[in-house]
């Protein structure tokens, strides 16, 4: 129960931060990505503001044996760079550029602009399911040389 309450609290503060920072507005995000047009640097301030407490949190985390309200830290292993990381980030960036939406603001917008946000979120979930349906093996293998021409 405490874990669920913490999850809800973190989500609500996160969503509130998105709304306060202007990042819920797709056109403001696109304006940040419009480097050669009417560039709006707001997103850079948001990233800086968000990274600061997290950088402190990582320092605190390194001295903790376990989290305050869970048995252990479950953190991503530091794997090597691979084609999936680069390809996935590139595809995500293209979608981000088209709509000015990434997952957090899209979901937060279900409360502010529900009709448009619901279309994007539904398509996003379909995209996630498509990724799951595709065979993982070919994409998860590093590129290999083949003898065929």
């Amino acid at each position: 129960m405490r874990q669920i309450a913490l999850g809800l609290l973190a989500g609500a503060v996160f969503g509130a931060g998105l709304a306060v920072s202007g990042m819920a507005d797709p056109q403001r995000v696109r304006a940040f990505l419009d480097l050669f047009g009417a560039w709006d640097p707001t997103l850079a301030f948001v990233m800086a503001g968000a990274i600061l407490p997290m950088a402190i949190a990582w320092r605190i985390q390194s001295r903790m044996d376990s989290p305050l309200a869970a048995a252990s830290f479950k953190l991503p292993p530091g794997r090597d760079l691979d084609p999936r990381l680069l390809g996935g980030a590139a595809l995500f960036g293209i979608g981000w550029g088209i709509a000015g939406l990434c997952p957090g603001p899209a979901i937060a917008n279900l409360a502010i602009a529900p009709a448009s946000a619901a279309i994007f979120v539904a398509a996003m979930l379909v995209g996630m399911i498509l990724h799951k349906l595709l065979p993982a093996a070919p994409a998860s293998q590093p590129f290999k040389e083949t003898g065929n021409v």
């Binding site: 999850g7 507005d25 800086a48 760079l81 995500f92 502010i112 279309i119 398509a123």
Partner: protein, 147 residues
Amino acid sequence: MGGLLADAMPIQGLIGGLMIGIAAAVLLLGLGRIAGVSGLAARATGITPDGAPRSVALAFVVGLPVGAALISLVLGPVVVRFEQGVSALILAGLLVGFGTRLGSGCTSGHGVCGMSRLSARSLVATATFMLAGFATVAAMNAAGIGL
């Protein structure tokens, strides 16, 4: 005024950013998890079996619109401009959903949590999606594709 930088909101951006970072810190130090919205959304919907307990992921995902709604109640309407058509929203949504799963994260997981950890993978991923975003907007502008 008008023109370059006229609409920037540096103060609101910093304050909202601090709130986002504090929320991510609560998840890390409280529950030992990365606040990656794409991963938590996939977990909350049952699309992936990996990650946080499903109830926690669902609570976080529900919290996002709750927090945004609270801001609009307390501070007044939140300005969001959706100028995209339905087809653009669908195409973008598909790319964001597929890409964030393939690339193991989005702006929050790689951009906020990973970069603050100085994760090489996250630094590369963030640079990649930023560059792809810049290129996409530039290409759409050059091609005269409005939204």
